[in-house]
């Protein structure tokens, strides 16, 4: 580990990608993630790597498809409306089993929405977004250091499973500054990719493809993908569980988890037994965290910067064994510590039905 640097989230992802051996990054401007493209526009050429601003998000994700298919560690980034445009390419990438990293610094939606932070792309990120049965590995980091660490891990898991990985941040995370440490430049060994289309010297033809017109063939391909997703769900779940013996649990990820933790501390300070479940992988969703506390948990309060998306996964994980409540703000409003605290106290006092 090197020295501490004070970094904006967007810049930190850029530097972390470079340290992770990202060989090609394809940009398209959209607020609030422009610092990432601007950072890499300076840094990638310094490292003799590829930086290219595409003509659209659609082109950028397809450039990632080409570069990833040619064996390079490749990345693109955008914010909500731009990620919608990338969905076609993401579906193809998932189907062709190409490793890559996609960053979404979520902003308020739907439509053009706002440029302020939001978490309303959770469904899109974790339930598909594009067409067909596929899954992305989705990370929901909540500090800049975690952004750095998960960016490295994202490239690693992408290669390990030949699957796209999404870093689901939000505008606030992209813009805020925190001190971070980066891994050293030469720490990464890039894996061999015998399947990549690099020219067929010394071997038979390689093909990157997602077309399987024969129903039986496509059925087999899907079964193979599902088997891979099950393996990921078994091996790659990550979460943080604070105060496992609590009676009440806040559930939040990303920026919201930071505020929820403060609300938890406030409630604890007043003698309430409150814990926090913070999913780090949003897909696979950490059902295991809930299993650990379901025997004694009296209620859950999910907090999101959305109208209620992750709460559906919380309900599936809790499976009716305790009430699951929701508190959310949309449009770019970050729920305050006080708001979350009050919502929590209402539940503890039994003032609100499940």
């Amino acid at each position: 580990m090197g020295e501490l640097l004070l970094m904006k989230g967007n810049e930190a992802i850029g530097e972390a990608a470079i340290r992770a051996g990202c060989q090609a990054y394809f940009a398209y401007p959209i607020t609030p993630q422009n610092e990432l493209g601007e950072y890499l526009a300076r840094r990638m050429p310094e490292e003799s790597r590829v930086f290219l601003q595409a003509e659209s998000e659609v082109a950028a994700i397809n450039m990632v498809y080409g570069a990833a298919g040619a064996g390079a560690r490749a990345m693109t980034s955008s914010s909500s409306p731009g990620i919608s445009l990338k969905q076609e390419g993401i579906s193809y990438i998932a189907a062709a089993e190409l490793p890559c990293v996609i960053v979404n610094m979520v902003r308020g939606g739907p439509g053009l929405g706002s440029i302020q932070p939001a978490q309303s792309d959770y469904f899109q990120a974790t339930k598909g977004g594009g067409h067909g049965d596929y899954r992305l590995i989705v990370f929901g980091p909540s500090t800049i250091q975690e952004l750095v660490d998960l960016t490295g891990l994202a490239f690693e898991l992408a290669d390990k499973y030949r699957n796209p990985v999404m870093i689901l941040g939000d505008g606030a995370l992209g813009q805020m500054m925190e001190p971070v440490e980066f891994p050293a430049m030469d720490e990464v060994t890039l894996p061999l990719k015998p399947w990549a289309t690099t020219g067929m010297k010394g071997r038979p033809q390689n093909v990157i493809n997602s077309l399987h017109l024969d129903p039986e063939d496509l059925d087999r391909h899907n079964a193979h993908l599902q088997e891979k997703y099950r393996a990921i769900a078994r091996q790659e779940v990550r979460y943080e569980l604070e105060n496992q013996d609590a009676d009440y649990f806040l559930v939040a990820y990303g920026t919201t988890a930071r505020v929820a933790r403060n609300a938890m501390h406030k409630a604890q300070g007043e003698g309430h037994r409150v814990g926090l479940i913070r999913p780090v992988t949003l897909w696979p969703f950490p059902d295991a965290a809930f299993a650990k506390v379901l025997d004694r948990a009296r209620a859950f309060l999910t907090v999101e910067m959305s109208a209620g998306q992750m709460v559906e996964d919380v309900r599936l994980a809790v499976n009716g064994r305790a009430p699951v409540h929701f508190y959310g703000r949309t449009g770019g409003v970050i729920p305050s510590q006080q708001e979350i605290y009050e919502a929590l106290i209402k539940i503890i006092q039994g003032g609100e039905k499940a």
């Binding site: 501490l4 640097l5 004070l6 970094m7 904006k8 810049e11 530097e15 607020t31 609030p32 610092e35 601007e38 300076r42 706002s114 440029i115 302020q116 932070p117 505008g171 606030a172 813009q175 805020m176 500054m177 925190e178 001190p179 920026t255 919201t256 930071r258 505020v259 770019g332 970050i334």
Partner: protein, 214 residues
């Protein structure tokens, strides 16, 4: 008139807000938010708090204040040409933010301080060499000469006196190389001022922090 420029995230806005509050105690002061590049954490977000302390905050019109449009506040000619009171201009980061100053430079009074805010814990000003390069890039963009440096060494909440003073020394070294004075250094309020063991030849200003991550 004090104009603050610097790399992205060097701390221009925090310093601008602190300077404005100090000057407001002494008389008429205007803070111009000329940040056309940063979408979050801008002076305009603190407009009401500052107004309570008598600081006039000049920002783009409310309709576009939450947009990512490069909107310049209206009436800049009047503000910049005014003989009355003090004016602090908070310019956006890097050459991208500084461009707007280049576009307005014919309106600036001849007598002004153009101060380059440096945090040596930020990536593009992490060494003396990088700091010099960054400063020259910004000077080239605004077509003006920087008149002094501000040492704003910090690692956010992990700032200690030790890290801070190491950083300030780097800024002083950059100043020597650039033949520019370092006007002052900062330290965050949460570091108790009594604990300072500074041998540096540098006045230190406590910074009250306004911009907190969620």
């Amino acid at each position: 008139m004090t104009i603050l420029v610097g790399a992205f995230g060097s701390g221009k806005t925090e310093i601008a807000l602190n300077l404005a509050l100090r000057m407001a105690a002494e008389g008429n002061v205007s803070l111009v938010d000329l940040d056309v590049v940063t979408p979050y954490f801008r002076s305009r977000d603190q407009k009401e708090a500052l107004a309570r302390h008598g600081v006039r905050v000049i920002t783009p019109e409310p309709r576009v204040a939450q947009a990512d449009l490069p909107s310049i506040p209206s009436g800049m000619e009047k503000v910049l040409g005014s003989e009355e009171g003090k004016v602090i201009i908070d310019v956006g980061g890097d050459t991208m933010g500084a461009r707007v100053l280049g576009s307005l430079r014919r309106l600036l009074p001849r007598r002004h301080s153009l101060l380059f805010v440096v945090n040596p814990f930020r990536p593009f000003t992490a060494t003396v060499e990088k700091t010099v390069t960054e400063l020259r890039r910004i000077e080239d963009t605004v077509h003006l000469r920087v008149t002094g440096l501000i040492a704003n060494s910090n690692l956010g909440p992990r700032t200690t006196w030790e890290t801070l003073l190491t950083g300030h020394e780097k800024v002083l070294a950059a100043g020597r190389q650039l033949k520019l004075p370092v006007i002052f250094g900062t330290y965050p309020c949460f570091l108790n001022g009594n604990g300072v063991r500074s041998n540096l030849d540098l006045p230190l200003m406590p910074l009250q922090l306004f911009m907190f991550p969620p």
